[in-house]
Symmetry: none
Subunit: 218 residues, 2 copies
Amino acid sequence: MITIGLVDDNPTLLRNISQNLSIFDEIGILFQANGGYDAINKLNNHHPDMLLLDIEMPEMDGIETTRRVKELFPNIKIMMLSVLDREDKIFEAIKAGASGYLTKDEKPSKIVAAIEELMEGGAPMSPAIAMKTLQILRKQEVAGQKTEVYKSPDDFNLTKREIEILEKIAAGLTYNQIADQLFISAKTARKHIENIYQKLQVHSKLDAVAMAQKNKWV
Amino acid sequence: MITIGLVDDNPTLLRNISQNLSIFDEIGILFQANGGYDAINKLNNHHPDMLLLDIEMPEMDGIETTRRVKELFPNIKIMMLSVLDREDKIFEAIKAGASGYLTKDEKPSKIVAAIEELMEGGAPMSPAIAMKTLQILRKQEVAGQKTEVYKSPDDFNLTKREIEILEKIAAGLTYNQIADQLFISAKTARKHIENIYQKLQVHSKLDAVAMAQKNKWV
DNA sequence: ATGGAAATAGGGCAAATGCCTTATTGATTT
DNA sequence: AAATCAATAAGGCATTTGCCCTATTTCCAT
């Protein structure tokens, strides 16, 4: 069962959503809060998998709430709820740490689907919002466009796992730390790194990171 | 009914997907193509609502195909199919004009849901890919507008010699190589580096270099 | 079904690294 | 003149790293 905290300053909406979701067995509403402060307060006693968070609230809005919740409880996922699909709000929300973004007029079944998708690591968004997100991405991309002489990890036959490891190296982790974070033995981590060195033709972590940075893999 | 063109160089996969989708009445497969050229060719006679497009193809890959299709038929929507979820491919694809991105292992029902979401103007993505997209967005954001406040080496009381050493570290040299280049003993080089670590509050070459880069000393 | 990656895990060893200590010399500051 | 600091040099030691080796399991493709 996926546990949820509901946050909205409008009591009527709070009740509506709560009722709509109560039909579904796979969803459990742990608590309801009427604002950002109330939500953070209740998080001290309840630990839901995710928050459904209204973006327009007085005092502390959804974005600021997201920022604070993410700081205190990084593994609680955040789904933004909004009546509007204001472009600037979307990317503020994503920046703050939200992973999903729904308009309030979605059908309950869609909301449940979105909740499940979020738990699977996805980023469910209502269509109009998803489209805005793509637009933002395309725009941003063009702005940062360079002479693209960067090689792809494919050119070196790096596997996904190896790229993952490379990121950890770049983060300055030791073999043991990498092993711990990826739930593998230190020996395996070292083996991966050996293979990376082979493929990249380097001979130290420093060289590997330099290579990764030069090609913008990190 | 939503009409579709299927493009994949692998005949087996082509057949599989086609069979899986044929069960659903709301989907109609207008044509199948085994590559980018073939697809563009067939688009002259058929006009589907969207293309399901394999990203890894010989000759013309999914991204190049997307670019050309979007140029010729801007209102045909593109859903990328891929076995991988490589970050660089994702944003290449989005830039080229794709609106959806699925891994091939999705269940048929999910694929159909994604197709419908795409027609509603959304941007359906498999969870892992959606997460990558958010990461790209967050990263791009930081790159775009940053008022970064860089510290000076003086703030850490680094001496000239120490900065010189730091540059050598950043260049990936070992203690011995640094010693050779600066005409000092390896012991001295190591001592300098110890002092640098002290002052920067770091504990490895990697961390020291990261710090140097963050503050634009290198 | 069979072969080949990819991911996992481990042994062993020499070199490099990180960190502690002390010491000398010259330059700068007080 | 004394105190400080930067730069030099060295000894010692535990840990990490780089690089050999082998081996199993799973999954994918021929």
